[in-house]
């Protein structure tokens, strides 16, 4: 079933969840819980937020690992209905999903932006005016208003001016790449790209500094056009896959865990690296560690790996090696980075992907 990634779902028991994929099982939506009420499960290792009249924990998969592991175990007991067992994946894969009957409300980025753009500009505060102006700029790419959405705090209304990001959703991978091309040369007095210092601050977070050589990281990031500043507010642009663009329907493949592997390969297609989950098609793979098989895909569930490499570039990736058996077609191997269970195992420190030449 198709359901756009980056939409927000609130559940009947008060969780705020981000839709975490574009393709889902029939009766539930794959999500990452973002804010979780603290009445059933709580961790002081996670940040607290006061949202909608409730004390919530903000689920951060980069929180201290042992505490996170304990929290996830408690979460599974407190909210078993949001933990999905996939019979298509071997190994102990962790998927969070919200069964349809537990959805309280869906916040649709496209609907939200349409409403926002219908507002009289003088009724908008500084943050919303920025969003309005930024979207007007983006439509100069030739994309239509309905190709865009706005998500997270702007959509939900709990943003803070001068602090909260602008998170824009672009519907369609084709559209997204077209927009990136437009932004290569776009000029606007309020538009600027991250400086080296700002990218270095970003580099210092999560595990990025452990993966990347600093100069290489800067070189790769400075060519990104999905993040920057508009009117001094950070913006991030995400792509959400259209139904007709999907590369695989839920249930049409089976995945066997073949252990951890590290490979190198040459990117032959980066088109699908714009979305989450996304992937790079590679050729000339060389297994550096793990089972020695030809690998044709580097697949990721984390946005950290979106749009890093371009066609012809050599990448190195470490993650779960999976044998993929499509219902129709030949089996193949892929490296998967960022399954949610990886954040509470030793894979958190091992998994990575980087451009090496």
């Amino acid at each position: 079933m198709h359901f756009y990634e980056s939409s927000i779902i609130t559940t009947k028991d008060g969780l705020h969840c981000q839709v975490y994929a574009n393709e889902h099982p029939t009766h539930s939506i794959l999500v990452k819980p973002k804010y979780i009420p603290t009445d059933k499960v709580e961790s002081s290792a996670l940040q607290y937020r006061f949202i909608g009249g409730k004390k919530m924990n903000r689920l951060d998969m980069w929180a201290e690992k042992n505490a996170l592991k304990i929290y996830v175990e408690q979460f599974k007991k407190a909210y078993p209905h949001y933990v999905m067992q996939s019979n298509m994946h071997s190994g102990s894969r962790l998927f969070f999903s919200v069964p349809i009957e537990h959805i309280e409300r869906v916040y649709f980025p496209r609907t939200g932006l349409k409403e926002l753009m219908s507002m009289p500009v003088d009724a908008l505060d500084v943050h919303l005016r920025n969003v309005h102006e930024f979207v007007m700029l983006l439509t100069k790419s030739g994309l239509r208003m309905k190709d865009f959405g706005v998500t997270y705090s702007t959509l939900m209304g709990h943003y803070m001016s001068n602090i909260s990001d602008i998170n824009i959703v672009v519907y369609g991978k084709e559209n997204f790449w077209k927009l990136m091309e437009f932004l290569e040369n776009a000029e606007h007095s309020m538009l600027r790209w991250k400086t080296r210092e700002e990218w270095l601050e970003f580099y210092g977070r999560r595990n990025r500094h452990k993966i990347w050589d600093k100069e290489k990281f800067l070189k790769i990031m400075e060519r990104k056009r999905s993040e920057g500043f508009f009117g001094n507010t950070l913006f991030v642009i995400f792509a959400a896959e259209k139904e007709e663009e999907r590369t695989c329907q839920w249930g049409s493949e089976r995945y066997s865990d073949e252990g951890i592997a590290k490979v190198t390969g040459i990117v032959s297609d980066e088109f699908n690296s714009a979305v989450r989950p996304g992937f790079y098609t590679i050729e000339k793979s060389v297994v550096l560690s793990g089972k020695n098989v030809p690998v044709s895909q580097v697949f990721f569930h984390s946005r950290d790996y979106c749009m890093l490499a371009r066609r012809g570039e050599k990448i190195e990736a470490c993650g779960t090696l999976e044998r993929v058996e499509p219902k129709q077609g030949e089996p193949y191997y892929r490296i998967v980075i960022g399954y949610l269970d990886s954040y509470i195992t030793e894979r958190r420190e091992q998994e990575q992907m980087k451009v090496i030449s």
């Binding site: 009249g53 409730k54 916040y107 939200g112 409403e115 908008l124 209304g157």
Partner: protein, 367 residues
């Protein structure tokens, strides 16, 4: 008749956000003031728009220009007749939410309880201020269990530096306890408007209510009130609500006959209920100053109460003072007890009638 706390936010199945407007309600309904209404339901010409929770919403404002407000209310009544309650007891109408149309009740008391559990390190500057202010109010002896938060503080759509902090005080005694405490309380972040600041406010915010006051009268009334101040530079407002056993009337136990607009002068004999909505001043020695239908009045029946639904007229006068009010004169017939007259200001219909420019309550000693 049913109790439901005033100043509570209620979301409806039709996407409205409403604020309860009384503590006592007709059976099956909650009296409210609509706060936000989806713009796709009714366009809000003359009203402000807000983008909240994925929707373009019209901010319903009783102080909008009268002609536009009238037009909006007419459309509202046609499109959402379920949200208007024509009260046979009042021969007047109220905005309501039928109980079967309530989607969510945002409980201010629970909200504050949750907020106070959030460690300060994880609170932004605004929420730190809220926690500090609550800490100060608790020094009055009122526990946090009898306090609540509302509006954007509760729902999380506040803007630091712009949004007010709105606090609910549960219980009339608790309300007076805090208001009395604040008369002498000191805190480095607590500030009250000075006479000069109230004078500036008066000049900049000419409203249909303040036009009945000279600048000096207005300043004299406001300077002694303690329901609105600033804390750390952020405006805060205190709303006292009645506990179920404290409501000063029970819905259905009286009937009200509207008798036109009157101006009355009287002496306040009890102001204990003047800090809630609706609130009232118990009066004696009433003198009818202006009224066109004197012949319709029964001179043996006393004018005993000045009632307000309008927040600017709460805590206007204290026991022993003389007050003057202009509002709707009503003959009240209790099921048990003797009939009396009362003056009411701030019924919803007043905002779209000529009463809007006429109604007020003022303490004469503050002139």
């Amino acid at each position: 008749m049913a109790h439901f706390y005033e100043s509570t936010l209620v979301d409806t199945v039709d996407g409205f956000q409403c604020k309860t407007y009384a503590n006592e309600h007709p059976e099956g309904y909650v009296i409210v003031k609509p706060k936000y209404i989806p713009a796709d339901a009714i366009k809000g010409d003359g009203l402000k728009y807000r983008f909240l929770f994925e929707k373009c919403l019209v901010r319903f404002n009783l102080f909008a220009r009268k002609a536009e407000l009238q037009k909006y209310v007419d459309q509202f009544r046609k499109k959402f007749p379920d949200y208007i309650y024509d009260s046979p007891m009042h021969k007047n109408w109220f905005f309501v939410v039928p109980k079967n149309k309530i989607k969510t009740v945002h409980d201010g008391r629970n909200g504050l309880r949750e907020l106070l559990k959030v460690p300060l390190r994880d609170c932004d500057l605004y929420l730190v201020l809220v926690q500090e202010l609550v800490g100060l109010l608790m020094k009055s002896g009122v526990s946090s269990e009898n306090l609540g938060i509302m509006h954007s503080t509760l729902l999380g759509n506040y803007t630091y530096g712009k949004s007010d902090i709105d606090i609910i005080i549960y219980g009339k005694d608790n309300g007076w306890k805090i208001l009395d405490y604040l008369k002498t309380a000191h805190h480095e972040k607590l500030k009250w408007k000075t006479a000069e600041e109230w004078a500036i406010y008066y000049k900049e915010h000419q409203t249909s209510e303040s036009r009945h006051f000279t600048e000096q009268e207005y300043v004299n009334h406001m300077i002694r009130k303690r329901y609105e101040g600033t804390f750390g530079g952020t405006v805060f407002t205190l709303f006292t609500v009645e506990e179920p056993h404290e409501t000063w009337f029970k819905w259905g136990e009286e009937t009200y006959e509207p008798m036109g607009v009157a101006t009355v002068k009287a002496r306040v004999t009890n102001h204990d209920n003047s800090h809630v909505r609706p609130g009232f001043y118990e009066v004696s020695d009433a003198e009818l100053l202006d009224y066109d239908e004197r012949s319709a009045l029964d001179k043996t029946i006393p004018i005993k109460r000045f009632v307000t639904y309008s927040i600017p007229f709460v805590q206007q006068a204290i026991t022993g003072e003389h007050i003057k009010a202009c509002g709707l004169l009503e003959r009240v017939t209790p099921k048990n007890g003797k009939p009396y007259y009362r003056i009411v200001v701030g019924y919803f219909d007043a905002y779209i009638s000529d009463r809007r420019e006429k109604e007020y309550i003022k303490a004469l000693e503050l002139g």
